[in-house]
């Protein structure tokens, strides 16, 4: 019974509750009415605006389509699309809005939202914040006779992945990972601080040392397939001086019209077979001075002096392995000619680099002696037309560990460029090389060929 009563009370209270606001009902309905009226008003305004926008779009389409029969187009007829960039005179504005004058009472809303899509080059949504990623394939083949430094018949020599991005307002970073036949090598990965005081440029990471010219250039950016003999004999082979360290570069005061720059670098001291850090203190240093001058707008000269010093591995079995040092000295000179009006068709480059190596090692009598070896190469290249370049290189170099042995060679190089993004190269290479196994000089005659291809956005190389 109690339950029934409760239910009854509940049932009775519902309508009671519902009737409670009854005294205000007239007021509420008038409120709702007015709200509906407001909404109706809004719908009407919106409809008007839609018609207006339609007319606007139509008029835009008409003004965009060029062609005969069109009345003289107003300069900047479409300029009001972009507020802020232009301030059209009242006359223009009036004329421009003329097609939609039927609803002139309402201020036409500027349709910039729809239009910004066609504007603003910086809206590259596809890239977002990814770095610029590229891959450069370097396929090399060799045929002919070479007993001293035989290359493989066919090899995917290197697939270099590059990632480059601006890190923050103060720095950018570049990384190049080289996938070769034997594994992966971080060829370079460094951060560059671009906003330091006093005009300093600081690079930190693993990088190719600023020792001369050819040492700084990636394989795929060389104008020949192999590296010069002097690089192989004296400056660490294919990778060259490429080590983890810190680099500081600065413009130097120079006479008028000259550009001068100095670079100082400190590395851990491990670079292929040039430098070996036997202990943590065995750092290596590299210094480079560069002078550049435009002779005229097409011709320029580029001169450099380099010095590198580090410890080597020849004393590994002695009591004081860190006593064995290698000092390297380099000089480079480049002459470039590229007529600006025909830059993509003709150009000429001439480059010579000289290297001196002073390497401490044990003599046959187990005494510390220094081998003084000299090496050099000279390279010239001419661009015949947009697709073909022809070049030649002369090489001569002593061996770092035995300066009495001198290798000599020359190469003829022909390159075909299907586009900016691929190259096909052939190189005839002659070498008069010392063969250690037979202790005599051997002649090498080889034909090398190379296919290079670039995927993605590979950043520009330094000049």
């Amino acid at each position: 019974m109690k339950r029934l009563f409760l239910l009854a009370v509940l049932a009775a209270s519902v309508p009671l509750y519902a009737q409670q606001p009854a005294p205000d009902s007239a007021n509420a309905s008038s409120q709702a009415d007015s709200r509906i009226r407001v909404l109706e008003e809004q719908v009407r305004t919106l409809t008007e605006q839609v018609t207006l926008l339609r007319a606007e779009m139509q008029s835009l389409h008409q003004t965009k389509a060029p062609g005969p029969g069109q009345p003289d187009r107003l300069l900047l007829a479409s300029s009001r699309i972009e507020p802020g960039s232009l301030a059209p005179s009242p006359k223009d504005a009036a004329a421009a809005s003329a097609p939609s004058a039927s609803a002139a009472s309402v201020e036409p809303p500027p349709p910039q939202v729809a239009q910004t899509q066609t504007y603003g080059g910086a809206t590259s949504n596809a890239k977002l914040l990814n770095p610029d990623i590229s891959l450069i394939g370097d396929f090399v083949g060799a045929a002919g006779h070479n007993n001293v430094t035989p290359g493989r018949s066919l090899e995917m020599h290197e697939s270099e992945v590059g990632m480059q991005a601006i890190i923050d307002p103060y720095a950018r970073a570049d990384a190049f990972l080289s996938f070769g036949e034997e594994g992966v090598n971080v060829e370079e990965a460094y951060i560059t601080f671009t906003s330091l005081p006093a005009g300093l440029l600081l690079k930190v990471g693993k990088m190719r040392a600023e020792f001369g010219k050819v040492n700084t250039i990636h394989n795929h950016a060389l104008q020949y397939i192999d590296r010069p003999l002097a690089t192989n004999n004296l400056v660490g082979g294919e990778d060259g001086i490429d080590d983890a360290g810190i680099s500081l570069t600065r413009f130097l005061p120079a006479p008028k019209n000259w550009f001068a720059e100095g670079t100082a670098q400190v590395f851990r001291g491990d670079s292929d077979d040039v430098f070996t850090a036997n202990r943590r203190q065995d750092l290596s240093v590299v210094g480079h001075l560069r002078a550049y001058r435009d002779l005229n707008e097409s011709t320029n000269i580029d001169l450099g002096l380099s010095y590198a010093r580090g410890h080597n591995n020849s004393g590994a079995l002695t009591s004081d392995p860190s006593a064995f040092l290698t000092n390297l000295y380099g000089a480079d000179a480049t002459l470039r000619w590229k007529p600006l009006r025909r830059a993509i068709y003709n150009s000429f480059l001439f480059r010579t680099e000289l290297f001196w190596s002073a390497r401490d090692q044990l003599s046959a009598l187990n005494a510390l002696q220094t081998q003084h070896a000299f090496g050099m190469y000279t390279h010239a290249e001419y661009r015949l037309n947009r697709r073909w370049t022809v070049g030649g290189r002369f090489d001569r170099s002593g061996r770092a560990d035995n300066a009495t042995l001198t290798d000599t060679g020359f190469s003829g190089i022909l390159t075909y460029w299907p586009s900016e993004f691929s190259q096909i190269r052939g190189q005839y290479r002659y070498g008069h090389l010392f063969e250690t196994a037979t202790s005599r000089y051997d002649n090498a005659n080889e034909f090398l060929f190379q296919f290079l291809f670039v995927m993605g956005a590979h950043g520009a190389h330094p000049f």
Partner: protein, 315 residues
């Protein structure tokens, strides 16, 4: 001991380099004229129009040079390091040469994103923005649109306005000077444009062939119809097959005018002209392409006069 000796030598070498680098104090720019560098001569011309004698303007590329292939010579660094403002075309036109110059300039003011880095493409109307998949099968495409946008006077005006705003922001004391110069420029450009439009009116809808895709904005503004290109794809040199196709197309469509930029070889265009009975005309895409083209107005004066002459002599 040799250990201490070698590290002492090492330290001395290091110190020598440090001294070498730090002894010389960087020359500070006197707070006089605003130092403006631009990627191309057209932007320099616009900046000069607005800046008047309150700015020093210099362009990296020359007007007769292909702006895609400029060499990043160190001599430009000397100028860039002193710049307060760097105005670039953007849309990856300068991607092959400008980024290393900006990095090596060691000038914090003009680094990408800094207040002194000014991308003019952000203020211009951009055409030929590729939609869908972008691949290099299309040649050297610019994924953000065609970067030759300055060849439309409307864009010139938009860029000039943006430059005026930038100058005023950097030198508020001279804001009214820049505003004054901008409104003079606007007036003059509107008048000139009316004349140019009038000159080009009789040729509206004319079909032309161009060497490279340098002229979409120009063609749109002056009502020309670009129907083909000497390059099979942007940045790809002419191929025999494409040339034959182009000749066929030109004969079918009765196209007689081949527009070539000053930095391209005339051999292929000339042979196409011989085959089709057409005319090759070298138009200047940039200020400074010829000695007499000293400003933005003369650029259009020159090109329109040349075009008019060509259209009149070819039927």
């Amino acid at each position: 001991m040799s250990v201490t000796k070698s590290s002492a030598r090492f330290v001395s070498v290091l110190t020598a380099f440090a001294l070498l680098l730090c002894v010389c104090v960087s020359p500070t720019n006197a707070a006089g004229k605003l130092q403006v560098m631009t990627a191309t001569t057209d932007l320099a011309a616009l900046a000069q129009q607005i800046g008047g004698d309150k700015v020093d303007v210099e362009s990296i590329a020359k007007g007769y040079q292909d702006p895609h292939f400029v060499e990043a010579k160190p001599s430009f660094l000397l100028k860039l390091r002193r710049a307060d403002l760097l105005i670039v075309v953007g849309l990856e036109l300068e991607i092959g040469w400008l980024p290393p110059l900006i990095t090596q300039s060691t000038n914090p003011k003009i680094q990408v994103g800094a207040p002194g880095y000014f991308d003019a493409s952000r203020f211009a109307k951009i055409l030929e923005i590729p939609t869908g998949a972008v691949t290099r099968a299309e040649g050297d495409v610019h994924p953000q649109g065609n970067p030759h946008y300055w060849l439309d006077p409307e864009n010139g005006l938009r860029i000039a306005k943006a430059i005026a705003d930038k100058f005023s922001e950097m030198r508020p004391a001279d804001a009214s000077y820049f505003a004054q110069r901008y409104s003079e420029f606007e007036q003059k450009l509107k008048q000139s444009d009316q004349q140019w439009q009038a000159q080009m009116k009789p040729y509206a809808g004319r079909k032309i062939v161009t060497y490279h895709r340098s002229w979409p904005n120009f063609a749109e503004h002056f009502g020309l119809n670009v129907v083909g290109y000497v390059e099979p794809r942007p940045g790809i040199p002419p191929s025999p097959q494409h040339t034959v196709e182009l000749i066929g197309q030109m004969k079918r469509d009765n196209v007689k005018v081949i527009v070539v930029e000053p930095y391209f070889d005339l051999k292929t265009p000339n042979s196409i002209a011989r085959e089709t009975g057409g005319t090759v005309v070298v138009l200047m895409p940039s200020v400074g392409g010829e000695k007499e083209i000293t400003d933005y107005f003369k650029l259009f004066d020159y090109d329109i006069a040349k075009l008019k002459q060509t259209f009149d002599t070819t039927k």
